[in-house]
């Protein structure tokens, strides 16, 4: 995938999230949402290493992974609007949506809970010999959850084809991760599980793709799990109502100069800049069309609220 394609996918995620924020402000989306603005290069780079059949598990900040994995954008908007989406019928909304047709095991609103589940998808791949890998993304704060420790250790001792991507955006919800751990880099913990751990620039899709490809290759070859820690920054709050009083003045403004889309633009020559402008316009039209289509999706029939508790 070349630069314009990466840029397009990252722009799609960015525009999608910005549109979500506006819909939230307008009252079209109930509940809180957790946006990934600034972290787009991680799912875009990582998904470049994946193929059909590889399962992806994400956190509640997982819209970028859903978009990067090709989950239908109309369904995503409709799901978050509480409509009868083709994804989860309005039962999951922003923090817990999934899509089996795109091997998107989905989000989880319990911090770190996706890791053991992703280990299960890796177990299926291993036992059926499908050759698939299971990629799970967690935030930096999740590294302190017991379920993450248990899931990684299980994957390690069973040599499961699991790739753990830690999106280190410096904040564990609303607290700095440096106040929550005594290691300098979270990937150092990989040594404690006897598996490889790497730190990469999470605002560089190429760097992420290279590191995740190495981990995926290792997993496909039966050599077991790896940890890739991708360093990034959040351009928005932990959740939609977060005013971020806990962040130092100027921090977000500085991050805007380092975020992945700005970085590509800074390095681009005039010819490419024009191409990127055109991509932005195309993406904006595409996202707006998805919003319009989502608004046409009906709200769920209340009579169905008790359906699907059991098979």
């Amino acid at each position: 995938m070349g630069l314009p394609d990466d840029y397009r996918l990252m722009a799609r995620i960015r525009r999608f999230e910005e549109r979500l924020a506006a819909l939230k402000d307008d009252g079209e989306i109930p509940g809180s949402i957790h946006l990934c603005n600034g972290q787009e290069a991680i799912p875009v780079g990582a998904c470049r290493a994946l193929r059909d059949g590889d399962h992806v598990t994400a956190t509640y900040r997982g819209h970028g992974w859903a978009v990067a994995r090709g989950v239908d954008m109309v369904g995503l908007f409709a799901e978050m609007m509480g409509r009868d989406s083709a994804l989860c019928g309005g039962r999951a909304a922003s923090p817990y949506l999934s899509d089996p047709s795109r091997w998107f095991v989905g989000e989880n609103s319990i911090v770190g809970a996706g890791v053991p589940v992703a280990a299960g998808a890796a177990l299926t791949a291993q036992r059926t010999g499908s050759g698939a890998v299971s990629l799970v993304s967690i935030g930096d704060g999740a590294m302190n959850q017991g379920n993450v420790h248990e899931g990684i250790n299980l994957a390690a001792v069973l040599d499961l084809p699991l790739v753990l991507v830690v999106e280190n955006n410096v904040y564990s919800e609303m607290s700095r991760i440096e106040d929550m751990v005594r290691v300098r880099q979270l990937a150092e913990r990989a040594a404690g599980y006897g598996i490889p751990g790497r730190v990469v620039d999470g605002n560089d899709a190429d760097a992420v793709a290279e590191a995740v490809t190495e981990a995926v290759t290792r997993a496909r070859e039966g050599a077991g799990p790896s940890i890739v820690e991708a360093m990034t920054e959040r351009l928005v709050g932990h959740y939609s109502g977060d005013v971020q009083h806990y962040r130092p003045a100027g921090e977000i403004a500085a991050a805007r100069g380092r975020e992945p889309l700005a970085r590509i633009r800074q390095a681009a020559d005039p010819a490419l800049t024009a191409r990127l402008d055109a991509i932005d316009a195309e993406v904006a039209a595409e996202v707006e069309a998805a919003v319009t289509a989502a608004r046409a999706v009906p709200f769920p029939d209340p009579a169905t609220a008790k359906e699907h508790v059991h098979v």
Binding site: C88, A92, S98, V105, G120, R127, E150
Partner: protein, 326 residues
């Protein structure tokens, strides 16, 4: 064909059947493969089916239950063993937030066909952290099927039913029943999920029990018959799906209801049965519903103290007498 088996042997036979008849079945938990399980439930299975089908996990209930969910969602039919039911509490997120919710929250697009096998209840010398009867926690959680086999035959039949179910099923056995022996219909067709059973007919009072308390209720019924009280004993078997129709039909004839379980009294599943009876059988009831349960104390370890709190046949007899001759 019916074989005489001990309860624990019936569990082993059901697991053998599951691993034999379905290639997508895998079995894992702590000490289940090479060691064969602390009670011998999986004895011989590793030798027969190998490490790809049955394997030991680290001591990490949250991890391997989550792994069971992910595996079930993507094509396997895992059976995960919780060694003691008490250990399920360290992994309650898996039961309440993960395993039970995915089918609903995906609008039916994912399935979680997995079984969580455990054993529960007191035994002499077992402390508070090895004696819980947590069935009410699971029955309180929408999405989980809950099975409590009380006989060797049900240990075999209900575990097989759980394995072929497309829903997540918690199968809670009773450790104290493991040595009991009885006929097991090893060639019976696999039963559908659910269904209470009248295990002793009677006209004077309905006694609803499950797990170890079914035997206690039958002993009580035998004793009560000598004084002219005919107790109808119902083995509830499944708490989800709950077969309340069988209970209501019995209460319509007897007019009296006693519920007996080993779990603690407050908020126990007996409270649910009593509430349902009050709502649906009010006109039939000629006496208040009585509950037999362990009082609200953590389980002591000393047998002399356990005997003071654990419900037995005598407690059922006393409850029935209060109900029939107030």
């Amino acid at each position: 064909m019916s074989e005489s088996l001990r309860y624990i042997q019936a569990v082993n036979a059901a697991l053998t059947w599951a691993l034999d008849s379905r290639d997508d079945t895998v079995y894992f938990g702590e000490d289940v493969a090479l060691p064969g399980g602390p009670f011998g439930a999986t004895k011989g299975l590793h030798k027969r089916f190998g490490s790809a089908r049955i394997f030991d996990t680290p001591i990490s209930e949250t991890g391997f239950l989550g792994m069971a969910l992910g595996a079930a969602m993507t094509g396997l039919r895992p059976i995960a063993e919780i060694m003691y039911a008490d250990f399920s509490f360290v992994a309650m997120d898996q039961f309440v937030n993960q395993i039970s919710t995915i089918h609903y929250s995906s609008n039916g697009r994912w399935r979680a066909p997995l079984v969580i096998r455990m054993q529960q209840g007191y035994s002499p010398g077992a402390c508070a952290q090895h004696s819980h009867s947590p069935e009410a926690y699971f029955a309180h959680t929408p999405g989980l099927r809950v099975a409590l086999p009380a006989t060797p035959d049900d240990a075999y039949q209900m575990l097989r039913t759980a394995v072929i179910s497309d829903d997540p099923v918690v199968v809670a056995e009773a450790r104290m029943l493991y040595p009991t022996r009885g006929p097991v219909r090893t060639d019976a067709p696999v039963e559908p999920v659910g269904g209470a059973r009248v295990v002793r007919p009677g006209d004077d009072v309905t006694v609803v029990a499950w797990s170890r308390m079914v035997g206690a209720a039958l002993d009580a019924a035998g004793e009560l018959a000598e004084e002219g009280i005919e107790a109808e004993v119902i083995d509830l078997r499944w708490l989800n799906p709950l077969d309340f129709d069988t209970v209501a039909a019995s209460v319509a004839r007897t007019g009296r209801l006693v519920v007996a379980h080993e779990a603690n009294l407050t908020g126990g599943f007996g409270a649910e049965i009593a509430a349902r009876a009050a709502a649906e059988c009010f006109a039939d009831l000629r006496a208040p519903v009585a509950r037999v349960a362990t009082p609200d104390v953590p389980m002591p370890a000393a047998p002399a103290l356990q005997a003071a709190v654990v419900p037995e046949a005598a407690d059922v007899v006393a409850a029935v007498r209060r109900t029939v001759r107030p």
